[in-house]
Point group: C2
Chain length 258, copies 2
DNA sequence: GTCACCTCTTAACCTAGGCTAAGATGCGGA
DNA sequence: TCCGCATCTTAGCCTAGGTTAAGAGGTGAC
């Protein structure tokens, strides 16, 4: 109920509300930024490595991936782009894009003119700071991706990214208590984690056999969040967030809020 | 000679001059940003994961590393911080730092107040855009680090980072034609590339035996840049830069400039 | 209804890179 | 000068994760 006004400004509004209380002027500005809508069908690659960028985008709905491909076909996914995230915030400042972006699901985007962003920092500095916070958080997510791939085992990596996604989706009201929609094939997961498809499959089986999580179709169910957080050595401070309460506590506070 | 005025504004000024022509007002602003200087001795960890950040910094001189450590001691270096780079540009917006920073050499830093940066975007938007370009470039460097670790072999990784460093150092006049100071132990290189020390040693030997590069003490000499670029599949567009001319061509144009 | 074509799953085998250990080299400090 | 410590180097062995292959569901197009 308390969320109703925030929901009106989309996933980005929900996300920003977690760090600043938006004034009316700032809400107007946020809405102006999200006036235009562009639909992108599932599977479309709509930003191409090596070609000029032009626009930044805000994701209204759906999932995308930012990725790079080597000449022999090896692919590395940099990160997942979720509702409320920016795509290519600074990219229009560059000659050409240094990566590609593709829609994992049907996507709704708000294109944002580079000039709008420049003005934003001048006219509406608190909102500008909140956008900068998003940029810093995206960089922190990328930094954690480096650690995940560089120094964690396959088992840790896989558990870690699931907990990260739970946190990020919770922030924009897209995850349940301990489960969420995961529109990913094992191939996508492999290219994200720097593993082979076969090994991702083996690793998911181990996580399932150990009672940590289960993937059924397009949905992940985290069966023991505490154990998962501990196995993956997950700490949420890189997301500028607090640890998630345990399932039972959450259920209690959810009940209390009714 | 043409560089003299730019040199007066430090490594950051040199770097920014590659993307925008600075006006007098912007040069003043850049100088105001770099008024204070703080010295940090080699080996000091001066930003601590999990503690509040407070300041951003501009590196005047020296090398640093941004890194994270897991509870069992595994360490992953996120990237190298070189003269002219920012440290923690957005970090003061966060509760606490998500990584640590340590000096690899004696370091001279310019601390920058968060408020100064906020004003910068309002008062001096072109310089603000240039700072945003730096932020975007740092993110692109981190993205390339993900690909390097996630999908390249040890041999490719090692060659790739050397070429990246050559490019980045050239931009701030810290590299020769085909060689530069590299104040890194093999352990640092290992923690950067997600490899073991022993394997870094083996890999450097292979690069040397193949006539691509040689590390003597604190200096790298690239013996065959073209072959190295090709073996590492290095493309500089993520640095918003053009490919480096081959050694001979550079020598010619350097001679022509005299 | 069936034929492609994804995606998932598992088994069997292989290799890039990790780990252990032991010298060698080099250097700052007493 | 010599000691202690960090770094480099190499050899030998081991394992996490890659590769290949083959079958099992599922599903959308015709």
């Amino acid at each position: 109920m308390a969320l109703k006004t925030e929901k009106a400004h989309g996933a980005l509004g929900r996300k920003l509300s977690s760090v600043i209380k938006l004034s009316n002027a700032e809400i107007d500005c946020l809405e102006a930024m999200q006036k235009r809508v562009k639909a992108v069908p599932e599977g479309t690659e709509f930003v191409h490595d090596g070609e000029p960028y032009g626009y930044s985008y805000i994701v209204k709905q759906g999932w995308a991936i930012r990725f790079k491909t080597l000449s022999d076909g090896r692919r590395q996914i940099l990160n997942f782009v979720l509702p409320g995230d920016f795509i290519g915030l600074f990219s229009p400042l560059f000659e050409v894009a240094d990566h590609s972006v593709a829609a994992l699901t049907d996507l709704e985007l708000h294109p944002v003119e580079p000039a709008f962003l420049v003005d934003l920092f001048g006219n509406c500095p608190r909102l500008g700071a909140a956008v900068a916070w998003c940029a810093g958080r995206d960089e922190a997510i990328l930094a954690e991706q480096v650690v995940r791939i560089g120094r964690r085992s396959a088992y840790e990596r896989t558990g870690h990214i699931i907990v990260e996604l739970l946190h990020r989706l919770r922030l924009v009201d897209e995850a349940g208590l301990n489960s969420f929609e995961l529109p990913l094939t094992q191939e996508i997961l492999a290219d994200t984690l720097g593993l082979s498809i076969v090994h991702v499959n083996r690793t998911l089986r181990r996580l399932r056999e150990n009672g940590l999580l289960r993937i059924c179709g397009d949905r992940v169910v985290i069966e023991d969040l505490e154990a998962l957080v501990s196995a993956a050595e997950f700490s949420p401070h890189y997301l500028d967030a607090q640890p998630l309460p345990r399932k039972t506590e959450t259920a209690i506070s959810a009940a209390a809020a009714l």
